[in-house]
């Protein structure tokens, strides 16, 4: 009896472990296109003045991790979005407080967990992209990892192979990886990937 039970238990565990997390919507970008593009545009406008990134570190989108980035120092502080300390800190370091609060509200409404800009190099020339992660509605099995949808917004049109994978450049057939992930085409400037990390 005990032997049978352990066989059943091990089988259940193996089945559970082999099931991966399922994202309910298959078309997140198109469904929320307007909001997502709006968040990206707003961030692109705010970021060059004072470079920063925002990440929600809790599932309820109440705790925000703010990174204030300069050439020599990155300050990382975590706040509850209702805390006065958040506004005080943004004011102290000359950030656009109203603009960042608007961005935080939009991110909460659209389930965007993280937004940042990312430097990369093509033929030794610096380029920049904006990357944001969305926490989608998922069906998750025990032991399966979480799933996030990451979107990258490039400033210029990119090259892709026949499978829609982002390439390093037009001249090479090498697949470009960003944070170790292969990205796929949505438009010639926007790509996506499914990942178990939001940043």
């Amino acid at each position: 009896m005990i032997r049978h039970l352990s066989v059943i238990l091990i089988t259940c565990l193996l089945v559970a472990a082999s099931c991966s997390t399922k994202i309910i919507s298959t078309n997140i970008y198109q469904e929320q296109k307007e909001d997502l593009d709006n968040i990206e545009r707003r961030y692109e406008k705010l970021n060059p003045k004072n470079h920063f990134s925002l990440a929600f570190t809790d599932k309820k989108f109440n705790i925000v991790s703010l990174e204030m980035i300069t050439d020599t120092l990155t300050r990382i502080y975590e706040f509850n979005v209702t805390e006065q300390r958040l506004a005080d800190t943004l004011l102290k370091y000359n950030y656009d407080t109203a603009g960042i609060f608007y961005l935080i509200r939009k991110m909460q409404q659209t389930n965007v967990t993280w937004i940042n800009s990312f430097d990369y190099y093509v033929n030794d020339q610096p380029q920049q992209l904006i990357i944001l992660s969305i926490k989608p509605v998922t069906v998750r099995y025990i032991f399966s990892p979480p799933k996030y949808v990451a979107l990258t917004y490039f400033r210029t049109p990119q090259s892709f192979d026949e499978k829609g994978r982002l390439l390093d450049s037009r001249r090479t057939k090498q697949v470009r990886k960003i944070k170790g992930q292969v990205f796929y085409k949505i438009t010639d400037r926007i790509c996506y990937t499914i990942t178990d990390k939001y940043r």
Partner: protein, 202 residues
């Protein structure tokens, strides 16, 4: 690098010109695969255009080995992202000792946290007279997913520059690669993230 910038530059030039060089009595003769990879690493941010630093990181990982490198000691393309490049606490101590020729004292280990009752007092006592490096689990403070259960293993080595305390909040300023980072964490979190404290003679 801070102590002997000229020696570092001479070493790098010699390594680039002759394919082998000596730094502080440590002879480096990287394999052909390492030489080919140096300068060609991609998708690593600013390191993509810092070819000399690519060479420096690769030759260090190629020379010094620890138990984490046991199954992958020989460099092949792409191994910069694998266990070939990983560093455990004892290997880190050995590297500093041999490369800088200084006395290194460490508490902690790769899996069990150091037996230090009050890490803040321990660190603030040593930071002025020594270089203090920490072996930390960065995934707790720099979360990458929303799961509450996380593997409790160290992930990063950092050089502690400043530490101060206001109430229960501790502000750390540290250097890892590139610029410095300043971060506020609670005393409890500080205790939770530290796996090793490495004190290096100045």
């Amino acid at each position: 690098m801070e102590k002997d910038p000229l020696g570092y530059v001479q070493f790098m030039n010699e390594l680039y010109d002759k394919g082998e060089a000596t730094f502080n009595n440590n002879h480096f003769k990287p394999s052909k695969a390492v030489k080919n990879a140096a300068g060609d690493l991609k998708f690593k941010g600013v390191l993509d255009i810092r070819h000399a630093e690519q060479m420096w990181f690769l030759v260090l990982a190629d020379k010094f080995k620890g138990y984490l490198n046991f199954f992958n000691k020989k460099f092949n393309e792409g191994d910069e992202n694998s266990f070939w490049a990983s560093t455990n606490l004892a290997k880190y101590d050995r590297m500093i000792n041999k490369m800088c020729g200084v006395h290194v004292k460490a508490v902690g280990s790769d899996l069990i946290k150091p037996w230090v009752k009050d890490p803040y007092s321990y660190l603030s006592k040593r930071i002025d007279s020594n270089i203090v490096s920490l072996y930390i689990n960065n995934r707790i403070i720099h979360k990458k997913n929303h799961d509450k259960i996380k593997f409790s293993i160290p992930t990063h080595f950092i050089i502690l520059r400043q530490i101060r305390k206001e109430g229960n909040m501790i502000t750390l300023r540290y250097w890892d690669y590139g610029g410095e980072t300043e971060m506020q964490i609670s005393s409890r979190t500080l205790k939770k993230i530290i796996f090793g404290i490495i004190t290096i003679d100045k």
